[in-house]
């Protein structure tokens, strides 16, 4: 330890402040980087530039209103956030959603996962200096957003699901649109995938870079695709099935290579599996009511909950947990969100040692940061 410090004194390290406005920090991350030439010696992430006090405001609002703040947490996958919140809220308020609503939620969550991963893929390409795949990703994402608009009338911050079901039912037209999408999408996805992986330079930028050992990953409580890319087969959808995931047939992609490329491949495989889930779910979706009448119209603001509930869901970034505490009133007493990106980001201190600046950018790209969720 002491020797190291002495060494540090002898060498002059440049301090570089990356962000909060920096093209490849995905929003408002600020990285304090100590550089020795091009090599990053130390990296200290500074966050909080998007701290929007969602947890506090949720305490000031009704249970049904808090949903919009969850939409804006992981803003590229609003549907998954809604699922996460409602899993907790419905348990707390004892309002189970009907069967049909659960299937609809699964479809929406998986489409949202695809959309989120597409944004990530495009942005990751831009980080590495590939200009075009971004556009192909967004063309596909636009199709998903089109479906969302058709269903609930909003593109991104959908506010589609409500306590005890969903706001609007899905109809023939929407089912047709989703089926069309699942038919076309796999080919387009392969094309995007090939545009990345055929490139020698892309492979050389990612293979063997940013190796995250599984024990380190657990120590830092990393979850989601990052954990699976480190060789730990863990997914909340399989481990603690929520909604109707136990009635669906899908695989969890794992990689034992632990590097950037593994994380890249795992996310792409997840998209393929999501398409598979959507395809099954759209066929199996049962008839019936799409909402629980206990939480409709003016009853919306009269829901009372007591107790403590922690619900976990698998968001595109990892394990998204919501810890709700109610005191018997119409407003939650305490809302606590386990944001996967925050833990995933904390590992950058470990990964960003003795790498080049370019690698640091690639690593922070594969972490898949969304700051609405990191800072909340």
């Amino acid at each position: 330890m002491i020797q190291e410090e002495q060494k540090n004194e002898h060498r002059e390290w440049t301090e570089l402040n990356m962000g909060p406005q920096h093209p490849s920090t995905h929003g408002v991350l600020r990285l304090k980087v100590k550089l020795d030439g091009e090599t990053v010696k130390e990296v200290e992430p500074i966050i909080g530039y998007l701290h929007r006090n969602a947890e506090k405001i949720c305490e000031l609002d009704y249970y049904c209103d808090s949903l919009i703040y969850f939409d804006r947490m992981d803003y590229v996958a609003a549907m998954n956030m809604e699922v996460g919140y409602l899993e907790a809220a419905e348990k707390l308020l004892n309002i189970p959603p009907p069967e049909r609503a659960q299937w609809i939620r699964v479809i929406m969550a998986e489409l949202g996962r695809i959309a989120a991963h597409l944004v990530w893929a495009g942005a990751f390409g831009l980080d590495l200096g590939m200009l075009s795949p971004f556009f192909y990703c967004f063309v596909q994402r636009e199709k998903i957003l089109r479906i969302f608009t058709e269903i609930c009338g909003s593109r991104q911050e959908t506010n589609y699901m409500s306590i005890g079901g969903v706001y609007q039912d899905i109809n023939e037209n929407i089912i047709y649109m989703i089926e069309e999408f699942t038919k076309e999408f796999p080919d387009k996805l392969e094309e995007i995938f090939n545009a990345f992986v055929k490139n020698d330079i892309f492979m050389s930028r990612n293979k063997g870079i940013g190796i995250l050992e599984p024990d380190v990953a657990i120590q830092y409580a990393v979850t989601g695709p990052m954990l699976r890319a480190s060789g730990i087969e863990y997914d909340v959808r399989k481990a603690e099935p929520y909604l109707v995931y136990d009635k669906l047939n899908f695989d969890i992609p794992v990689s034992y290579k632990k590097d950037n490329l593994a994380r890249f491949l795992v996310r792409f495989e997840e998209m393929r599996q999501s398409v598979r889930i959507v395809k099954q779910a759209i066929k199996k979706i049962p008839d019936g009511p799409y909402f629980n009448p206990k939480a409709k119209k003016s009853l919306m603001i009269r829901l009372r909950g007591e107790g403590e509930v922690y619900a976990r869901t698998e968001s595109p970034k990892g394990e998204f947990g919501v810890y709700l505490v109610g005191d018997g009133g119409v407003k939650p007493y305490r809302v606590r969100v386990r944001s996967p990106s925050l833990r995933n980001l904390s590992v950058i201190r470990h990964l960003g040692k003795d790498v080049l600046i370019a690698d640091l950018i690639a690593i922070s790209g594969t972490i898949d940061l969304v700051f609405g969720e990191v800072d909340r």
């Binding site: 907790a88 348990k91 830092y220 403590e308 810890y323 925050l342 904390s346």
Partner: protein, 152 residues
């Protein structure tokens, strides 16, 4: 064996262990040895008279979940950073927003808000009407003021 005050099952079917704050670290390290290596979440709850700290621990291989609860009257709780690295930022966040001082934390600074921010916003007695502003000094670091000052 660590003395557990109360063992219940929560509304969501998870095992809840209540423990005195002196025994907290012992219990956590016990659990860690039993495979609960994944510290998911640290939550502070302001119960007005006291502060409650909740730890969500997770066993990835056996897929088990356990919730550890402790209470504190003097806002002080031993830090779990020695056991779990993920506790680092979690504890900083709870210190920032809830004002729970984690004793033994190597770098207990605010995570989201600047250090000079007055009050801990998630406390029930935090006064939202007192508006604070943040300015930036020459090094790019922030400080909070009650005075709008330049640029606002």
């Amino acid at each position: 064996m660590v003395e557990v005050l109360e063992e219940t099952t929560g509304k969501d079917g998870r095992k809840v262990l209540k423990v005195a704050k002196e025994n907290l670290l012992a219990l956590l390290s016990d659990l860690k040895d039993n495979g609960f290596t994944h510290l998911s979440l640290i939550t502070g709850i302001d119960r007005k008279s006291k502060l409650e700290v909740v730890y969500h621990l997770h066993n990835l291989t056996k897929n088990e979940y356990v919730v550890v609860k402790t209470e504190t009257l003097d806002e002080r709780v031993p830090s779990a950073t020695g056991l779990f690295k993920s506790a680092d930022w979690d504890e900083r966040e709870q210190y920032d927003l809830m004002g729970i001082v984690f004793e033994g934390h190597p770098n207990l600074k605010r995570l989201f808000l600047p250090d000079s921010w007055v009050g801990h916003p998630l406390r029930k007695n935090y006064d939202l009407s007192k508006v604070q502003y943040i300015n930036m000094d020459e090094n790019g670091d922030d400080y909070a003021t009650f005075d709008p000052g330049d640029g606002w």
